[in-house]
């Protein structure tokens, strides 16, 4: 029992601490690719501290949903993060849920964020929410299918089992093709869910293009800090998921301190690698028009579906 609490504590700390870092890293990579010096990698931490100190301003039309959303969003995202194996193949909350719970926890946050966007009564918020609804409804099936494809190869929907088996080379080597498809689908899903280019641009406040930024436009002070932190956390959760599900090697499979140390180092390496990849991808592509986003997400869905088909056929 004690080690479960210890695990929860460690994983929470790692996730919360690393979330702003991943955002900072992506920004830095993008800046460098644009030949700018760019802000320091730890700038997001400073931003968070600054925001927590500021007085929030709340629209007079806003209801309780508006103030509750940042907490719900933060909590649900963190809970989702605790369902994913991070540096050890055991997950702290694996008794509580599996992949499906993960998907729904993330969706819960998105749902409340959409409500909050509508709640503040600003036209931008509503616009952002409706766009987010389109994207979310399209990414969800693709995400479920791609994770299922991976789950099937491991024979479990429990992420901890999946990662454990894959780390010990019990799944991935026999079937590279479904994994490849699912991986490609998951990358697209992650990009769409976390609001990165080419689906959304986190660096813009242009009313014609913004999605996520439009929803949180009315937030300020500590609420904004929580929302931003949760967004960083969500990004990190996705990166973790991709890294550990498709390439879990190096992850600790026991609670020994040495294994944990290697696991943590491998984890940070993999996630930073993915963050750099996303930074490069963002610099390579232009943002898609909203109505072209369906093309991309359709592709993700089909990829995930193919992963499933391949699984059945190759196992046939």
């Amino acid at each position: 029992m004690l080690d479960v609490f210890l695990l929860i504590l460690m994983q929470t700390v790692v996730l919360l601490a690393a979330a702003p870092l991943s955002v900072g890293l992506i920004r830095k990579v993008k800046a460098r690719l644009q030949c700018r010096q760019g802000a320091s990698v730890i700038q997001p931490y400073a931003d968070l501290v600054k925001l927590f100190r500021k007085q929030p301003v709340i629209s007079s039309t806003a209801s309780w949903i508006f103030t509750a959303t940042p907490y719900i969003l933060f909590a649900s995202t963190l809970a989702a993060g605790l369902l994913v194996p991070v540096f050890i193949s055991r997950t702290p909350l694996s008794f509580a849920g599996n992949i499906i719970a993960l998907v729904y926890l993330l969706a819960l946050g998105t749902f409340f964020l959409m409500l909050a966007g509508l709640d503040a009564g600003s036209p931008f918020g509503g616009m952002g929410s409706s766009r987010e609804a389109i994207v979310a409804s399209l990414t969800e099936p693709a995400m479920m299918l791609s994770i299922f494809a991976i789950a099937l190869t491991a024979g479990s929907t429990n992420l901890s089992t999946i990662v454990h088996k894959t780390a010990l080379l019990e799944g991935i080597v026999t079937d590279p093709s479904p994994h490849l498809m699912a991986f490609a689908a998951l990358v697209i899903v992650a990009i769409a869910e976390t609001g990165r280019v080419p689906v959304d641009n986190p660096a813009t406040h242009l009313e014609l293009t913004m999605i996520h930024e439009a929803m949180i436009l009315e937030y300020s002070g500590r609420y904004l800090a929580l929302v931003e932190w949760a967004a960083g956390l969500k990004l990190l959760v996705f990166l973790t998921l991709i890294a550990n599900v498709s390439a879990p090697w190096g992850i600790a499979t026991s609670m020994e301190p040495a294994a944990l140390g290697i696991g943590l180092a491998a984890y940070l390496l993999k996630v930073s690698g993915l963050a750099v990849l996303i930074g490069i991808l963002e610099s390579m592509f232009a943002k898609l028009r909203l109505f072209r986003v369906t093309d991309l997400l359709g592709a993700a869905f089909i990829l995930a579906l193919l992963g499933l088909i391949f699984f059945y056929v190759l196992r046939g």
Binding site: P176, S177, L180, A184, T294, D295, G298, I302, G316
Partner: protein, 222 residues
């Protein structure tokens, strides 16, 4: 003396075929013509690598020749021709399609399933190494066929035809470790000539119609 044991070898062949199929979907989803040509070239490279792998694993030497021809003709010469055509025509992307991209993707996904269903009864007869690639090859052929219907630009139709040829070549290698050499050479020759002819045609269509949109090709009716 084969260096790899069959299971890993056949997984790698499967992986190569899956990559081919992936680029196929890329072409279905892509609107920019030059990107389609690049994807086709990439697909041909994947094809050549997969086929080389098969040649290496089986020791059937004439497949190497076909692999080399694939690189030269399908990854270098034909993409060059198509790029030239695109440059000359001054069209960069496909705006209007007969079937839009998400629907095309879905239908292509269905076609993959159909291909697997069709080949299910005959797959067990194949070589252990490549038996799954036959289904993927048929899927690529069907998707190429479908893309031809879904798109309007002459260049995209040509790419779709070439994708079909890639699928066929994969199928030939997968099912039988390559056709007799004389047939393979003939097929390459035919494909090359077909690409050349299509290149000439698109130029003439451009001159005659000021467009290579095949939707304009509707003067001949009942």
């Amino acid at each position: 003396m084969p260096l790899m044991t069959p299971p890993i070898g056949s997984q790698l062949v499967d992986l190569g075929s899956a990559l081919l199929l992936l680029t196929c979907f890329g072409i279905v989803a892509q609107r920019r013509l030059s990107a389609c040509v690049d994807l086709f070239a990439l697909q041909s490279v994947f094809l050549s690598l997969t086929v080389t792998l098969v040649a290496f694993l089986t020791g059937v030497h004439h497949i190497y020749i076909a692999a080399a021809l694939t690189i030269i003709i399908k990854a270098i010469v034909i993409p060059r021709i198509l790029k030239k055509v695109i440059e000359r025509l001054n069209v960069s992307r496909e705006l209007v399609m007969n079937i839009n991209v998400p629907a095309s993707l879905l239908i292509s996904g269905l076609l993959v399933m159909v291909a697997f269903l069709i080949t299910q009864p005959i797959i067990p007869f194949g070589h252990l190494l490549t038996r799954d690639s036959l289904a993927i090859a048929l899927a690529i052929v069907l998707i190429g066929f479908f893309t031809m219907i879904a798109r309007q630009k002459a260049v995209t139709q040509m790419i779709a035809f070439l994708v079909m040829e890639n699928g066929l070549f994969l199928g030939a290698t997968a099912a039988t470790y390559g056709m007799p050499l004389i047939v393979e050479l003939g097929v390459f020759f035919d494909v090359l000539v077909a690409a050349l002819i299509a290149g000439i045609y698109t130029n003439r269509l451009q001159d005659a119609f000021d467009s290579v949109d095949t939707a304009h090709l509707s003067e001949l009716r009942e």
